[in-house]
């Protein structure tokens, strides 16, 4: 069984397997979790707090996630397409879901280099 991320606040708790997370986007003080099952969930924590939480809970296994700029944390296993000029990043399992997100050209250039070295 894969590892899980547990996000607990004073009033609720979210437990999600790492492979169930496609990406997390920032909405100011809040974050939106996009799940592989098609669901989404607003989390009442900031993206930076989630990055800290993932690093602490998963330690080196957390490297499945990549922080991209101020607004995104993505699951590297779902990186499907990168287009730098269009600032486009498509996250997909090539079967059931496909999400297009936007990031800066510099960030996408670094991401492309990172994936090329895998």
């Amino acid at each position: 069984m894969g590892r899980h991320i547990v996000i607990s606040t004073s009033v609720d708790l979210v437990r999600v397997a790492t492979e169930g997370v496609v990406y997390i986007s920032s909405d100011g003080n809040y974050s939106t979790l996009i799940q592989a099952d098609g669901g989404s969930r607003i989390l009442t924590v900031q993206l930076g707090q989630l990055e800290t939480l993932i690093a602490r809970q998963l330690e080196t296994d957390g490297n499945v996630f990549i922080r991209i700029g101020k607004s995104l944390i993505i699951n590297r296993n779902y990186i499907h397409y990168i287009n730098i000029p269009k600032q486009q990043l498509v996250l997909s399992d090539a079967r059931t879901f496909s999400h297009t997100v936007s990031a800066s050209k510099d960030a996408l250039r670094q991401l492309k280099e990172l994936i090329e070295k895998e």
Binding site: T9, D27, G28, N29, Y30, I42, T44, V45, Q46, G48, Q49, E51, T52, L53, I54, A55, R56, L58, E59, T60, D61, G62, N63, F65, I66, R67, I68, G69, K70, S71, I73, R76, A103, S104, K105, D106, A107, Q110, L111, L114
Partner: protein, 292 residues
């Protein structure tokens, strides 16, 4: 949940593999460390040169002292600019005709509308509160709604209206206001809600609703816009009579109950009213906001 300050800030042109701090993939950040090191080194060299330099004549010393004085004032001005908010909301509590109310008066800035989750990190927003209602059948905005000149919802179920044209708020009560077309043509804003006061008089549009709830309204008086909310549950008619007693020229209802409103006062302190529940904020939740 507190943020771990061990994780450094990240810019939009950077990426970082989580849980892999040794990967060195934060290349842009690493470059900045090299630049910082170079600047520190250069500063050290300059300081060393100045220390070993012979003292100059009186004119040189005066010039150096003047530079120091100029730097001191610049720094003081910078501190002032941080401490004094360029725009803010004044908060006042009163009891009008036996009803306790809170009055938010925006000072400076400009009003507009927005749809969706507000950016809570946007420090230029100094007051924000929900505007139009959402239809229960299709989750669309109820009534005419114009956002930056684009009409994205239509309907006259409610006759109260608010238009924002060239940064000026107008409030009225009729089926076909000229302000609707004007908002479209000028790239402005428009929404509908229950009319409460028009021409200084109570409008009975909402009077059929007899239940009590915390009420909130956008008001105009002598050209000044402000928001009035009740601290306790009140009926629509009683709320309208309170606004009439406040001698407002026009007033339109805003989403009341526990809907969330927040802002910043003159000292930069965050103020809030209602309950924030992200689960009730929908894609079409609309807000009227003041920002600078």
């Amino acid at each position: 949940m507190k943020e771990n300050k061990d994780i450094p800030e990240i810019r939009d042109d950077e990426i970082r593999v989580i849980g892999d701090s040794q990967s060195g993939e934060n290349k842009s950040g690493r470059a900045w460390w090299w630049i910082l090191a170079a600047v520190v080194l250069a500063a050290g060299i300059v300081s060393a040169v100045l220390l070993v330099r012979e003292p100059g004549n009186a004119a040189d010393r005066d010039e150096q002292e003047q530079e120091v004085v100029r730097g001191f004032y610049e720094q003081e001005e910078m501190v002032d600019s941080v401490q004094s908010a360029p725009a803010y909301v004044e908060v006042e509590e009163q009891t009008i005709s036996g009803v306790p109310v809170r009055i938010f008066t925006p000072v400076g800035g400009e009003p507009s509308l927005m749809i969706g989750m507000p950016d809570f990190e946007d420090s230029t927003i100094f007051f924000i509160t929900q505007a139009a209602d959402i239809r229960a059948d299709n989750m669309q905005i109820l009534g005419d709604f114009v956002l930056r000149g684009e009409q994205i919802a239509k309907g006259r179920t409610k006759l109260g209206w608010c238009a924002i044209i060239d940064g000026n708020i107008s409030i009225g009560y009729d089926k076909e206001p000229a302000a609707l077309q004007e908002a479209i043509l000028s790239g402005g804003y428009f929404f509908r809600q229950y009319g409460l006061i028009a021409g200084g008089k109570y409008v009975k549009e909402s009077s059929r609703w007899k239940y009590s709830s915390r009420r909130r309204a956008l008001c105009l008086k002598d050209g000044q816009d402000f928001i009035v909310e009740t601290l306790e549950a009140e009926t629509f008619p009683r709320f309208s009579y309170v606004l009439e007693d406040l001698n407002v020229d026009a007033a339109i209802y805003l989403v009341g109950g526990d809907s969330y409103a927040y802002g910043r006062d003159r000292d930069g302190n965050r103020i809030a009213s209602g309950i924030f529940d992200p689960d009730v904020i929908m894609d079409n939740t609309s807000y009227i906001l003041w920002k600078y």
